[in-house]
Structure formats: structure tokens, C-alpha cells
Symmetry: C2
Subunit: 237 residues, 2 copies
DNA sequence: ATGTGAGATCTGGTATATCAGATTTCAGAA
DNA sequence: TTCTGAAATCTGATATACCAGATCTCACAT
């Protein structure tokens, strides 16, 4: 018997092992639900959260609720006062800072992507940018949303930064419905397209500093657009 | 009776209400302990964590352990596979990325601090920098560590960014003992002093872009020093 | 020898009970 | 009326029990 040959798997081409992380848990459902509620402005900063009450509303025990609250605490959306409960920490200024955090991290990752991107990935990025141009012309909001995600995710992969990519995911606070509203506006679509194109060119050409600046500008500017829609305010940055 | 006058507190000058957050919980103890173990390299990436086993080692129930693991998961130090447990996600490359994240966020906050710092705070920052100069001369490592924290914390406060400041705290992965080692080296002390002085000057003079560059350079460079000590490796950034 | 699958076992997810700190209530004293 | 403080109550922190998915074992068929 040949050592180390036993654990290989043979399955017909085209069948992938199903990702077990598709499964969801009560904890994650509670987490996402509360997160969306906070971000959607259904709590005010300082509101106290009652674990038992929440558990009852969800029709579950307090255990998954506690775990969900722990996640929210680490995300910075609530604050836990030992033995005194958790209170909401979210407001428009918090949202602004989340955008700034995303801008800082996303521009860093763009910088690295420009330095590290390799042979086939650069053409793929250009291809995505070109598809965005097409979708922008045809006012296809849903395609644009999907392509947008593809675009940023592709940059994340090209940077080979797993931790930074994870960190960025947590700075997201607007959902598909809000994005759709944004992408309805032709002016916004045009601006976003210009920025995406510039970012892609900078990364493909390996100009790390330029990619960084373009990405930061893009995240901050589009973030301000979101803020105006979600909170209807405006601040200097 | 005058409405709204009942809840004020009168106590003699100099007595502060004790901060209830001084209290610690089992959960936080477990969290910090595991975090330090991961960061201290006492696990390998991919190692599985057994909740029951951990709880037994700590002599506590699984509840606080589960909560601690949830925090670590959100921090990005472990990965939770639904119904399959949690595995360690930490390596030198993860540490590098934590430094990059800190550099990105800390430089963003320095930028804002330069824009937002006000009357008394700017002189305080200069004063801290001058104390650092003195401590550097007298090779007082412990003072330097304290001043270092004061310095960065002062910038955080001046930026008036609560969320970013919290986020930065989570990117810290070296403790006092390692810092002491670093601050022993006279060359490192000198370099850090130069950088701190330059950052303070940029912020006080209101040069946001310069403050940002200086801060980023400082965090990345000193981070590399830490990496070399903790992991003994070197990478391009 | 190899592959299969039913059952045993391990382990994370959830529910419930209990403990203890924090807050509120309210009777009684000043 | 105002203040004090003990008791009742609320609520988060912890412990324990139980359930179910995932993994392992191993007899058995091929």
C-alpha cells in the first residue's frame, strides 16, 4: 500500500463539494436581523437591549441572542457594559466613520492589488470594467450591483489579503435595496463608471499609488451619496 | 416640584463615580487569554478548537467560551464552520495584514486629527512629544511605552472618531513585554522619536496629508520591526 | 482487498435553570 | 418633604441538559 494516497477524492468533472457554510444557524439569523435593524435606523443610539425580550421576539432561547450580541459588540455597533447590558452605538456619524474605514482599507488593498496582480487576473479586471460600461449604458441596475461586487471582490483576491478583505466586509452598511436606488440615478452611474474604470486602469498598469488614491476617492464619494440617501445629511471629510 | 431636576448628583470635588467597566467577566478573561495564545503563536493555522475541552481547561462552562469564540471570530482570528467547529486563522501573513490595517486606519485618523484638532489639544500633543524626547534620551522604556499609548490615544481623541479608534484597538497584536524589548534598542527609539515628532508637527500645523503619510510610514515601519521580533521574517509591502 | 452503510460517538447549537449584580420600590426615619 | 436603606425585581452572566449534524468505527457484502 502506498502511503498518503488514500484520502484523494475522485468525482466527475463539474461537481463541487457543497460548501457546508451555506447552512445557517439561529445565531446568524439573529445577528443579521439585529444588524440590519440597527443600520436601518430602527434603534436610537443609547437604546438599551434586553436579551430576554429579544429572545422572546425571535422565539428562541437567549443563548444564540447572546452570541449575536457578542458579534455586534466586536463589530462596534453596540457597546456592552459588564453586568449592565448592551446599548446601541450607531448614528450617522458612526456610519460616516464606517465609510472612512472602508475607504482606508479598500484603498490599501487596491494599492497591494496593483503591486501583486498577475497574468490572467488583470485582463479579467479589465473585462469586468468593460461589462460595467455596458451595463451602465443599458441602465441595468441589478447587473451593476452584481458587477460592482465582482469588481471589488476581484481586487480583494488580486491583493491576496484575506484579513483585510474580511475587515472590509464588516464596514458595509447598506443593502441591495439601497444600492438599487443609487444605481437608478444616471449621474451617479456615470461617476461610478468613470471611477471604476480609472481604478481598473491604475491597478492593471501597476500604479499602486494612483490606484490607492482613486479607490479612496471612489469609496468616500459614493459613500457620501449613500449617506445622503440613508440619513439625508452632509459633512466635511 | 421642578421637573427634570431630580436625577442630578452632587458629590464632593475629586470623587469620580467608579467605572463599572473595570469589572471583568469570565467571558472576557477567556477571550483575552485565547487571543493572547493565538497571537503568541501557541496555535497553528488550521488547528481545531474544542469548546468543551477549552471550557474544562478554564474550569468554566461552555457558555462564556462560546461567546469568547464569537468575538474572536468577528475579530478574524478564528473561523467558524457551522456545525463543524472553529479553526485558528492566524499566521505571520495575517499579522502583516493586521499591521497594514492599522496603518490604513491610523493614518486616516491622523489625517482627520490634523483637520480637527483644537486649541488646548494641540499644545498637549506637542508636550507629549517633548516628554517622549526626554524619555528617549534617558532610555526609560516603561515611560516610553506609556507615552506611546498616550500619544496615539491623544490623536484618536483629537480626531473625534470613536468608531475608527475602536477598530484600531483590535489590530493590536503585541503586548507590553514585546514592546519593552523593542524600546530597548536605541536605534529603534531614535527612529520612533523622529517619526512621532514629525507626526505631531504635521498635526499641529494642520497639514493633514503630511500627517497621514508620516503616520502610515511610522506604523508600517515599526510594525515591521515587531514582525521581525515576533516571527523573525521579512516581506515586501 | 475494497467499498458500503448502520450504529456509536463526538461536538457544536440551542434551550432551560440558576446565580448574582444592578435597579427600582417603598416604608419609615429625620 | 426629603433622605435612607432593606426588600423586591429585573436582567445579564454562568452552568447544565439536551438535540442534531458530522465524523468515526467496523462488521459485512462484493
Amino acid at each position: 500500500m502506498i502511503e498518503g494516497m488514500g484520502q484523494e477524492e475522485r468525482r466527475p468533472e463539474g461537481f463541487e463539494k457543497i460548501d457546508p457554510s451555506f447552512q445557517t444557524t439561529v445565531r446568524d439569523h439573529v445577528h443579521r436581523t439585529i444588524r440590519n435593524a440597527i443600520i436601518g435606523g430602527r434603534f436610537a443610539t443609547g437604546d438599551k437591549i434586553n436579551e430576554r425580550g429579544l429572545a422572546e421576539q425571535f422565539g428562541v432561547s437567549t443563548t444564540p441572542v447572546k452570541e449575536a450580541l457578542r458579534q455586534l459588540e466586536t463589530e462596534g455597533l453596540v457597546e456592552a457594559l459588564p453586568r449592565r447590558g448592551v446599548v446601541i452605538r450607531f448614528s450617522s456619524s458612526w456610519a460616516e466613520e464606517m465609510i472612512l474605514a472602508r475607504a482606508a482599507l479598500e484603498s490599501m488593498i487596491a494599492h497591494l492589488a496593483a503591486k501583486r496582480i498577475e497574468k490572467p487576473a488583470d485582463e479579467e479586471l479589465t473585462a469586468i470594467a468593460e461589462m460595467m460600461a455596458k451595463a451602465t449604458g443599458s441602465a441595468d441596475a441589478d447587473s451593476l450591483i452584481t458587477l460592482n461586487e465582482k469588481f471589488h471582490e476581484h481586487i480583494h483576491r488580486s491583493s491576496r489579503c484575506g484579513y483585510l478583505a474580511k475587515l472590509i466586509e464588516r464596514q458595509q452598511f447598506y443593502d441591495a435595496s439601497i444600492r438599487r436606488v443609487i444605481h437608478m440615478d444616471p449621474t451617479e452611474r456615470e461617476k461610478a463608471l468613470e471611477e471604476h474604470t480609472a481604478i481598473a486602469e491604475a491597478i492593471v498598469s501597476g500604479d499602486a499609488d494612483l490606484a490607492e488614491r482613486q479607490m479612496r476617492n471612489h469609496v468616500v464619494r459614493s459613500g457620501e451619496t449613500y449617506l445622503n440617501i440613508v440619513f439625508g445629511n452632509k459633512k466635511d471629510i
